[in-house]
Symmetry: C2
Subunit: 549 residues, 2 copies
């Protein structure tokens, strides 16, 4: 509680005070806020990845399971948060933290977030959100326009229409993907004769009525794990997510897609959606969207594009062609908390047809009455915050050309880093960057030569040891706390589809410099030297291979 | 963009500046933040519900569908937000805004939210959240303890266990309810012989394997609309949400529940869950949880309690008995953004058994690796913010006894308001408050007498006109902007189950005074006088009834 007294006390008067707006700049809270801002700025400026302390140690500060029976002063608690939480959190905005889809954020979002938190609107209904509702509808309209570029008349007619929705603002890409596939599933089994629609009667009766043996969602083997989750939640089962082969560039193989769709039809399995990926999570590649669209049209099925990460590229007039064909999709997922530089919790799904979401429309007597413009009637979530406001602000403050500069710079940087890696004799670029994501590994020239030469068990054993080394480097780099790359597992064709652990970097942070990229390679090289046991094992096998033993 | 120049320009250097931590207290951003705080404080202090402007007018400010092609200065944009958004948003924290489950928030949440936004952790995985992960696990543990009160050994063993989860932090109660029912559905159809489990093979094959004709979720007719949405999403269909009758106190009728379960079994329909409600959204009543638990045990089915709103009552040692039996539930939904006074976006679902969530566990190679403590492997959502931090802070700053005072005060206030309404000859209390929610309507004594006396068509006509008057009053009170009550539709037994529109109030805001409650009744009385046409129609019918015509 806020108080000048020495010990915090529980009484109703002091409780009322914490709900009351603090007076002027001398108030305790204002002072706490100022000192907190200073501390956070310090943390954000230090450009160092979080202090390394084993999770087990950190957990000791969070082991109490009983709710506190005595109150704490805000000032004391703030200090406690700085000591136990802030100092052991991850500096996701650090320019050398390039392992995940995080970045530094525009700093104006800090004061503007205050509006969102202070007003605490609930977007589920107009009565608790008022102007935030048209604002969110406009944000969805602008994104719709960026993807589908319909004319003015289209947006005048649909953007603010009570019975329609151009999409939904969600807490993230997973909910966005689930929403898209929920809509696709429901539209695939509409009411018909005595059947009242899958939304009313469920999958079991839907399949019986339409005489199908099963339901499928078809996606490249590089699809995000949220799609598997969607298949589970939606009641069709994870095995009904049918994987399609990918080519050497991690793009969906169209012939296999056609074959799979035909096979499913033959087996009386209804494909509710084909999902194209615009920016795979692990390699950053984009499926041939226009070609998939044509196949979907031929097979009369919903075409969803998961552009959670890559969708921001549409802001770049220079590079948006990479996503050509996205305008043919029935629905698209885009995350604003990825390369649109908005804080965590801002996903979106857009639908080409304003009528698409009718099949998931819900109403209730005390809210979401029919005819109201309540956003809650077309969403998976219920109560929601005014997060759309932050995207609205960035759209205006940065503007489309500003976003274009950021996107272009990130692609240039990825190209630069790919070239830099290729120039090193002891590193290997595993996947080329199509957007700003690439993968690579550390492999000294003599090891690489041996791996090429080797066959059978030795080849696999050597590959396994190199994987161990990659893992070792990644882990120790993280622990050193200077920089962070993530890792994942691929099966590159050039290495006979052997399981290959790689470093994965995403160059979305505008503050990441070329110098940082050089340093990251140097650091990895140094760490490799500090793995004598692994190195020895590798060299032993390399020798054996070279000597033909 | 932040700049001293006259026009905002798009160039990469100025873009980089917006990603950089502002220097010291003289920086433009710091100044904007200060003036913004002042403006927001003014807005929050004025204690007046949002300025009334027709939605159609507000929409004019949000009709552009093309992304801005020129950037705007942060200062200009902030002013634009204040003019077009803040001034037309809803003052949900106003003490006279008592229509929905909103309230004033503790003011310390403003500075503390900064930590959440600035650190921008992603709770899906440890690599981007570190200390936030044990913190969230602890928050879930404390809530689990509040509900289930297991011993220390239990929490030491499970709270931070990588393979287990005591629940999930969600964006809201809807996602929490969906998660609970997803788990219940999956656990109801486990792998068995050749069948690999519903999560793998879906509902259609599950029902075939187990030889069922359908799936049901059973809940009182007062269940929240999110349950219908859950039934739809989960693929069992909205019609599979089987409603059970309620008694005169809006509580589930146990005999009917038993009968429904028996009927479903006879029809070879598998009940995956019975949902008990701890605080119905429209009347605030609590189902007899212990009795429902016994019935669930007998029928061997999952017992879920939707305590999204009422769960906070567990903080009160004085009143927690109202929820007796909740500790027997297999899962419980609680929203922290309702009466735990946290900003929008903080729902939770807790599971009694730490193994329950295994049936929805998901993994992926680049994150959520097996054995990691990543929270993302047991959640419907993927990327998520560090919202749990704000609840953690309130648990410490307010503490359990502080929450108890707040809860107790809100129940006392509801009792006071109910008595006040009952004392008025021209108001009628329609539902008694069990928690801090009640419903009532305006009905002058001569109208009430006539309604009692009337029969047939005249009774219904009169009731319809009274409904029109209630609607009129609610609408005009909202438009006057001094206070806000919501409205809903009930079918009270005392009025022969005729459709009855009522005012609905939730007295959660600690700053709502008795004076405000008096004023609200007075204002409603005054508004009623300003409805001469409706009043005339009502009086005409009343006269006809009285004269026996």
């Amino acid at each position: 509680m806020v108080s000048q007294d020495k010990t915090a006390q529980v009484n109703f008067e002091s409780l009322l005070r914490i709900f009351t707006v603090p007076e002027g700049p001398e108030s305790t809270l204002t002072q706490i806020e100022e000192s907190l801002s200073g501390n956070l700025n310090q943390f954000l400026k230090e450009h160092i990845v979080a202090e390394e302390k084993p999770l087990r140690e950190i957990e000791k500060d969070f082991r109490q399971s009983i709710l506190p029976e005595t109150p704490t002063f805000v000032s004391d608690h703030t200090q406690h948060l700085l000591d136990t939480l802030v100092s052991h959190s991850v500096h996701t905005s650090s320019p050398s933290f390039i392992g995940h889809m995080t970045s530094a954020l525009p700093y104006y979002l800090m004061p503007l977030s205050k509006i969102m938190i202070a007003l605490n609107q609930n977007l589920v209904k107009i009565e608790t959100s008022k102007a935030f509702t048209p604002l969110e509808r406009q944000v969805l309209g602008m994104l719709h326009n960026l993807i589908y570029a319909q004319d003015d008349a289209f947006y005048s007619r649909w953007m603010h229409s009570a019975q329609h929705s151009l999409g939904a603002f969600c807490s993230g890409g997973t909910i966005a993907n689930i929403t898209a596939l929920w809509v696709a599933r429901n539209n695939a089994f509409p009411a018909d004769g005595e059947f009242r629609g899958i939304e009313q009667q469920g999958i079991f009766k839907a399949l019986k009525h339409y005489d199908y043996e099963g339901v499928a969602i078809v996606v490249s083997e590089r699809g995000h794990y949220s799609l598997k989750k969607a298949a589970d939640v939606l009641g069709i089962g994870r095995e009904s997510l049918v994987p399609v082969k990918t080519d050497d560039h991690n793009k969906v193989c169209l012939a296999d897609l056609e074959a799979k769709l035909g096979e499913l039809e033959e087996n009386k399995i209804k494909t509710i959606a084909v999902v194209g990926i615009a920016g795979t999570t692990e390699t950053g590649n984009i499926d041939p969207l226009a070609e998939i669209a044509a196949i979907c049209q031929k097979h009369q099925c919903h075409f969803h594009v998961d552009a959670a990460w890559g969708g921001a590229t549409l802001m770049s007039n220079k590079h948006r062609d990479l996503l050509a064909g996205i305008e043919l999709a029935d629905s698209v997922t885009i995350d604003a908390h990825k390369q649109l530089y908005i804080p965590m919790g801002a996903g979106m799904v857009l639908f080409k047809d304003p009528h698409s979401m009718a099949s998931i429309e819900h109403h209730a007597a005390y809210i979401l009455r029919k005819g109201s413009k309540d956003l809650g009637s077309h969403a998976l979530e219920g109560s929601r915050s005014g997060m759309a406001m932050l995207l609205y602000s960035s759209m205006h403050i940065i503007s489309r050309p500003g976003y274009e500069l950021l996107i272009n710079a990130s692609l240039d940087k990825a190209r630069y880093f790919a070239d830099l890696i290729s120039q090193q004799s002891d590193f290997e670029l595993v996947t080329e960057p199509e957007l700003c994501l690439l993968t690579y590994r550390y492999i000294p020239p003599h090891v690489k030569a041996a791996l090429h030469k080797a066959t059978g068990k030795k080849k696999h054993k050597l590959n396994e040891l190199i994987n161990g080394l990659t893992q070792f480097i990644q882990k120790h780099q993280r622990e050193n706390g200077l920089s962070f790359v993530s890792r994942t597992t691929l099966t590159p064709k050039k290495w006979d589809k052997m399981t290959t652990i790689v470093f994965r970097v995403v160059l979305a942070n505008p503050l990441t410099t070329k110098e940082i990229l050089h340093n990251i390679l140097n650091e990895q090289r140094e760490i490799a030297k500090a793995a004598p046991s692994l190195t020895k094992q590798i060299n032993t096998i390399v020798d054996a291979i070279e000597s033909g033993l």
